[in-house]
Symmetry: C2
Subunit: 377 residues, 2 copies
Amino acid sequence: MSSLGGLDTPAAVVDARRMQANIERMQERMDALGVKFRPHVKTSKCLPVVQAQLAAGARGITVSTLKEAAQFFAAGITDILYAVSMAPGKLAQVATLRRQGCDLKIITDSVAGAQAIVDYGKEHGETFEAWIEIDVDGHRSGIPPEGESLLAVGRVLHEGGMRLGGVMAHAGSSYDVDTPEALRRVAEQERAGTVRAAERLRQAGLPCPAVSVGSTPTALSAEHLRGVTEVRAGVYVFFDLVMHNVGVCAVDDIALSVLTTVIGHQEDKGWAIVDAGWMAMSRDRGTQKQKHDFGYGLVCTEDGRPLEGYVLSGANQEHGILSRAEGVDPGIAARFPVGTRLRILPNHACATGAQFPDYHALQADGTVADWPRFYGW
Amino acid sequence: MSSLGGLDTPAAVVDARRMQANIERMQERMDALGVKFRPHVKTSKCLPVVQAQLAAGARGITVSTLKEAAQFFAAGITDILYAVSMAPGKLAQVATLRRQGCDLKIITDSVAGAQAIVDYGKEHGETFEAWIEIDVDGHRSGIPPEGESLLAVGRVLHEGGMRLGGVMAHAGSSYDVDTPEALRRVAEQERAGTVRAAERLRQAGLPCPAVSVGSTPTALSAEHLRGVTEVRAGVYVFFDLVMHNVGVCAVDDIALSVLTTVIGHQEDKGWAIVDAGWMAMSRDRGTQKQKHDFGYGLVCTEDGRPLEGYVLSGANQEHGILSRAEGVDPGIAARFPVGTRLRILPNHACATGAQFPDYHALQADGTVADWPRFYGW
């Protein structure tokens, strides 16, 4: 246990109280909507965070890499959905985890992918559980709800002896809207499309127990989730400036920040130079096309109070340029002398967190706990 | 030792022959220009890479974090320049390394920064060696060559009993140009400004033994380096698509790529989905404003042959969207079936490398060696 003042910079700080409030807000919503909640742990890749999500009522987790699956299975979590279309070359890793007792489910969205799962499963005596990915908004992967190949993929899996476990969708387009009406519309589109796909499979005599949807914006905006069995969401645990612009959190809900130190100035330009560059913040410029562009992040005091109008307007690898978002502050050097410590709220918590080997979890009593996180594949 | 075919995806692959050729090209140029070469190891953060640079003739290294300094000092390298303005709070770390025998040099560009170095040094009996950062192009930190505060900073350090070791500049604006003429002009501006700052210090009776300049584009473009004692450059060791657009390397010189697998398609859109998203490529979109926008990277076959016109046009955390840069390939699914392995050349090698715990170094005989790299601060 240390304190914020004892940390070297740059450092990733998690406000544990805000995180806990975010977790409880989401879990209460999921409970009220009557669905199981399966958080996406790609945001944190950190056991204490995931343990807090499970303690609040989450059941099972979603992962974006097999490393996440292996790490969290090693920590005792067994109900895991790997929510990226299965690469045939990774089936051996999945089979190994399943044989060790991990209830690891995989996904696919093509006949070729399904056939590869069946072929490997038959050859190696493994009954994989596979879900079919549904494309509800054209933003990435998946089969449209009315897509021709849906039943074919289902049949390949089911008749090939695999366990057809359900359907899943992720309305990534929810990140592109910013009004409650639009968010509700995207959430309903995600729900309705995924439920429709499940109905088509069932009407064709195929099993489809799980109907899984989710993104942080849609999870927080859906009016009802009839026909859905579970929801997935990730970034809500920390929130970030992109989510603030979308309209699903306040700035004061953002639980992740980067602690930094002022190392110099260019007074005539109104710049303070800080030791958090893009290596610390990540190169994510997710707010660039949103209604409020925060550059590489919003500047706060060391104790977390936002300094409205001050952003990281530029970044090199280990240098951040702190300035007013608009206009020049002629008193920048006096306002933020060399050695001043500040905290920067990130555009995208998943990307910023990934730059750090540890989170420093700031507790209500002002102490800081070290929460290791992992990276890589 | 394994082979490329045995690697899980995504993976960072270093073509060791290309890397060696890049190292030799730069070292031969530095030798011809008659300057010491101090490579910037922030690009690789990897001991075998740095050992190859030193074996080719580099003398000393440049680092962007004190973690790099500590790691490479532990490997036996002592002549180290920490090329980010000194945060007062990190002086204790520097003092510790120096007492262990590391000849670690620090930089500053302000009276306040210099005073903090002197104050800590006097209080703790440490004679720091500090260089003054010069701003030759207005892109980031430093004092302009004719800047008023240059002599004041020099006097604070020198009269305060510290070792004033020299001046250093980095012409970051060289990344923004793309003709040989403009590159030569920026290189000469970097050289002339830094040499001028050294002259001013010397004329004022202050010591200035080292005159250090560098960026990959200027190092490869300078016509002469009269008055300069050493050059620093980092990304040349791998090169990348940004450097290709700047005009200082061919696509076939790029030594870093990300090995990936096709996991699905959206045929009507001409998309193949691969398992290298922005977590693997980084969010760096450095070619976006250059003459040729490569999206998140240029697609190559598994054996490294570029597929001109095919790029990663989009990226989510673990999904890359592979498509033609212009137009739609209606035969994308047949061209790149599920399971196809490809390699993606990155926009920015420093950012992409940082996403991986290891490089897989492809040798001339087709074997692959594991080269660990580190991250964090």
